[in-house]
């Protein structure tokens, strides 16, 4: 991360609420964000899996794509099948580079008369010009910097928010709809980044604080910070851009081939299609896998991975301790011949070989509303 002392850090519309709640603010992707509240990461994590937690994700980039042929236009920069997406539905996809690397991962929703996009905070300055450059006349990209994004996650999240807007309970997983919640016009999607049921809610920035207070007043809802968000998503086996995927990794290597539409795999007309096609035909040299270290010691990002007693065969990209798992967990890239579940590995942590094994993800089963 860039040295935060030399750049101007932005704040989200909830900054003063975070401070009031005792949030410990840290620089993240150019924003001052709460890494945790007084309850601490462990408690916030476990509360999310047990009840419901509110996360401020307003740093993420929101935008609309409007005009005839918007879906086809977006397909010029992603291998996702956007045209197949029905109104009221959302999907996860990748923006790819011309070399077949991953420019970013993103969410796209079909709102009927337009597409709604959510991209990573750290990548919006790259993504939006890239999308813009691919647009034909008549399709326009409209960034939405005046909107906040709030995630409510956990097994009680939907029941809680449905007391304010009952229709939300009718949304299926990855369903999207507009609702009036506590007097605020909100765009709600049943999705998230924790592996739990829940929603992500886009609201006007000037109403965000009052809206967040209304959610925090619901029974069972507690605030949670970026620390818990990270341990939750890692337990759920979900990638973090910049750690687990970047411009050097391909969709095939990252085990995200499922984000490439079936039709797109017959057309091969997305950026980097040559590399993806070659890797699908011949196998990628390395693959992203889940890794479980033996014992309790975590192995963090950039830890070298060795074959037992042997050479370096990969590197950890995200690693930590899973509070719900009750033990350490990681993901990383290994040479393809070491990628099968159950394969023994050694992680070099501070000069000592820590035994580990390739493990299926998610580490904690998803509990989405299917």
């Amino acid at each position: 991360m860039a040295d935060s002392s030399t750049e101007t850090l932005l704040e989200t519309p909830l900054a003063s609420l975070h401070r009031e709640l005792g949030g410990r603010m840290v620089p993240f992707a150019g924003y001052m964000m709460p890494v945790q509240y007084p309850a601490g990461i462990l408690t916030e994590h476990l509360h999310t899996r047990a009840a419901a937690a509110l996360f401020d994700v307003s740093h993420m980039g929101q935008a609309e794509l409007v005009g005839e042929g918007a879906a086809a236009a977006l397909e010029r920069v992603t291998p996702a099948d956007v045209q197949i997406l029905k109104p009221g539905r959302q999907k996860y996809g990748l923006l790819t580079t011309d070399d077949g690397g991953i420019l970013d991962d993103f969410m796209v929703a079909n709102l009927g008369d337009r597409l709604f996009l959510v991209v990573n905070a750290s990548r919006k300055h790259v993504d939006l010009p890239r999308i813009e450059s691919a647009l034909p006349a008549g399709v326009t990209l409209k960034p939405l910097p005046d909107r906040a994004l709030i995630a409510l996650q956990g097994p009680q999240a939907v029941a809680s928010i449905a007391t304010l807007a009952p229709g939300i309970a009718e949304l299926a997983f990855m369903g999207v709809g507009s609702f009036n919640i506590a007097g605020v016009a909100a765009l709600v999607s049943r999705s998230g980044y924790t592996g739990e049921d829940g929603v992500e809610i886009s609201v006007p920035a000037e109403q965000a604080e009052g809206f967040a207070r209304a959610l925090l007043a619901l029974p069972g809802v507690q605030p949670a910070g970026l620390g818990a968000r990270d341990s939750l998503r890692l337990e759920a086996g979900l990638c973090l851009y910049g750690n687990d995927i970047d411009e050097t990794t391909s969709a095939v290597e990252a085990a995200l081939t499922w984000t490439i539409g079936k039709r797109r795999r017959t057309e091969w007309n997305f950026p980097g299609a040559e590399r993806v096609r070659e890797e699908l035909a011949n196998g990628a040299k390395r693959l992203r896998v889940g890794i479980k270290p033996d014992g309790r010691q975590p192995a963090r990002g950039h830890t070298p991975i060795h074959a037992p007693g042997g050479a370096v065969i990969g590197e950890i990209t995200s690693g930590g301790f899973g509070p719900s798992l009750g033990g350490p967990m990681a993901m990383g890239y290994v040479a393809r011949e070491y990628a099968a579940d159950g394969t023994a590995l050694e992680l070099m942590v501070r000069g000592k070989a820590l035994p580990a094994v390739v493990a299926p993800t998610p580490f904690i089963p998803h509990r989405y509303a299917r």
Partner: protein
Amino acid sequence: MSDTKFSKDHEWVRLEGGIATVGITDHAQNALGDVVFVDLPEVGREVAAGESIAVVESVKAASDVYAPIAGKIVEVNSGLSDNPGTINTAPTTDGWFFKIEAADVGEIAALMDEAAYAAYVDTLA
């Protein structure tokens, strides 16, 4: 406690009969967050002042723990491997890390007293 001394690396040191008990301060455990693992030095190891000899891992990150004085490790708190959370709940008592037989007890006198450490922590805020 008047005979507890503090290092700039946020360790506390308590000398009893030539043996210094070392742990991390309440400020340090609070900054680290929930501790999930601790890697302790081997008993019998000779350590230099300022040498990184232990690692404490929180949910968030790994941090080094340094020897505040030179000497020989004579005991480690083996209870921490099963209950690393003790470092959060009782950092200056049951959450101690290791005991050093001081090479020079004079080194301990040179560390900060409680008031000086509190003033030092204030400069970091």
